[in-house]
């Protein structure tokens, strides 16, 4: 500890308490874990199906959120919309409302009798609930705000002169965006994508409400954990450990690259 930065007790005590509070449940999981049968549970068809589905849907949701979210972030940061503050607040709504409410809202919009979903179903026979596409939609809805907020911060801190310089040198708007703007916001984009992916991976409420629960089709890891809890709690703990392990690996692998900008924004 450097001199002059002595931590006062009124910060140390609650701070340590907070750390203990955050870690205790995770340590308790390790303590209760069925270590003997762990591999067997994790390698069961239900677990592998759920893991595969979780990886695919979280990645697809992140791709969808990136393709749509980056332009939205740019609009909020740069386009001088008439009500930027309001738009930014609206983007945060799916992040703040309970995920089960998101699921109900998605049903109202994209369900078979929903405003958009009804049209899709009647015209093309497309039904999103109970499909893997429905899972991706639910995850993207809940996770996209993380990406938009992170990338918007990156766009806002950009210096407009780079873009103008590229323009005077004859670059088209697309080239300038792709070659100048995007590389400059890459750290923010990376952080946003990681957050978005992690949130999509953990999505439960909106998924089970909108997409249902069927192994191999819509049963992602969190849904498998929840169902296992009803019949075989030790299997639920084993699957939970797998999810935690994935998150820890991501944190470790990316800590030096993508997570630093979060600390500065």
């Amino acid at each position: 500890m450097k001199p002059g930065s002595r931590a006062p007790w009124f910060l140390v005590v609650p701070g340590v308490l907070a750390l203990a509070f955050l870690l205790a449940p995770l340590l308790a999981l390790l303590w209760r874990a069925p270590w003997g049968s762990l591999l067997e549970i994790v390698r069961s068809p239900v677990a592998l199906d759920a893991l595969r589905l979780s990886m695919i849907t979280a990645t697809a949701a992140t791709v969808l959120a990136t393709l749509l979210g980056v332009p939205l972030a740019w609009l909020i940061a740069k386009a001088q919309l008439p009500a930027t503050g309001l738009v930014r607040a609206l983007v945060l709504v799916p992040l703040l409302i309970p995920p089960v409410v998101s699921g109900v809202a998605l049903l109202s919009a994209f369900g078979r009798r929903g405003a958009v979903g009804g049209f899709l179903y009647d015209s093309f026979g497309i039904q999103l609930p109970f499909t893997t596409a429905g899972v991706v939609l639910a995850e993207a809805f809940v996770a996209m705000p993380f990406l938009v907020i992170a990338v918007e911060g990156g766009f806002r801190s950009l210096n407009a002169e780079f873009d103008e310089a590229a323009g005077t040198l004859g670059a088209s708007a697309w080239t300038s965006f792709r070659r100048v703007t995007l590389p400059l916001v890459a750290p923010a984009l990376g952080a946003g994508m990681v957050l978005c992916w992690a949130r999509a991976l953990g999505e439960f409420g909106a998924t089970i409400t909108f997409a249902g629960n069927f192994p191999g089709v819509t049963q992602t890891m969190p849904l498998a954990v929840y169902e296992a809890l009803e019949s075989d709690p030790s299997a639920a703990i084993a699957l939970s450990l797998l999810l935690i392990l994935i998150c820890v690996v991501i944190l470790v692998v990316l800590r030096g690259h993508f997570l630093r900008p979060l600390a500065s924004t």
Partner: protein
């Protein structure tokens, strides 16, 4: 003489309370009071609050709170130490899990239920009976087999030699009903009592008794209850009083005995 008086007083008390079971006639049977929490199967969501209201009227000073969920989730909560006083499940196997784990007292059977097919109003997929559920394009919701309504649905289809591929396996029967009411599935396998409780919000097909399966509902006091007197009183009230029986009948539950 004093002893005889005590017995007579207790007897008078029991008679005054409206004829509880003989096992309640212990000389020191205390009057239930205070709050209890009842963990009850999702299919009891509508009927139990009505019974609780009658119970609280009979025993002023008591208060009943509920925790409704799929039966197996309720059992796991109690095994994990949830502060609950009474457990009522929708099947005997789920109750036996709690009994075998040493968490509840002797269960009493108090109701019986059978299955029905629920459809969105207007029955868009023209479901007419169990065989309709096997048709391609008919979206079916069932409970996961871990919960009693899922086990019952599995038994029901096996009994009729039908293979149905549901689009979703929900975590309790009310979630199946919700998917039906939202019109997102064409049919859901639920209890007859669920169909009855939501009225015109769903259409339904009755399954003939010969093809149908039943499930029985046990209720038991939780051993670690902080209020064993009121817990036992509630269990006995549900099982033995004509009032509770009448309410259960009114909601479509049958007698299990």
């Amino acid at each position: 003489m004093k002893k005889l008086f005590g017995v007579l007083a207790a007897l008078a008390l029991v008679v005054g309370l409206g004829g509880l079971s003989p096992s309640q006639a212990a000389p020191s049977a205390p009057v239930p009071t205070g709050t209890i929490t009842v963990s009850a199967a999702a299919s009891l969501t509508d009927v139990f609050p009505v019974i609780a209201k009658a119970f609280m009227k009979k025993y002023p000073g008591t208060s009943v709170k509920f925790n409704f969920a799929g039966s197996s989730a309720l059992v796991q909560q109690i095994i994990a130490g949830a502060p609950v006083d009474v457990l009522a499940t929708a099947s005997e196997p789920t109750m036996w899990q709690a009994v075998n784990a040493g968490h509840v007292g002797k269960p009493l059977l108090f109701a019986k239920n059978t299955m029905a097919i629920a459809m969105p109003p207007g029955n868009p997929a023209h479901v007419t009976g169990l065989p309709s559920l096997t048709q391609p394009g008919v979206l079916v919701a069932e409970c996961a087999v871990a919960v009693p309504c899922g086990a019952a649905a599995r038994d029901l289809l096996a009994k009729n030699s039908l293979t149905v591929k549901p689009v979703t396996l929900e975590i309790d029967v009310r979630a199946v009903l919700a998917k039906v009411m939202a019109g997102e599935v064409d049919a859901g396998i639920v209890y007859v009592t669920d169909v009855r409780s939501v009225g015109s919000k769903v259409s339904s097909v009755t399954i003939p008794a010969g093809q149908n399966v039943t499930t029985t509902y046990p209720i038991a006091a939780v051993n670690d209850s902080g209020n064993p007197t009121a817990a036992t009183a509630f269990v006995d009230y549900v099982r033995y009083t004509p009032s509770a029986l009448g309410i259960l009948r009114a909601y479509g539950f049958a007698k299990p005995w």
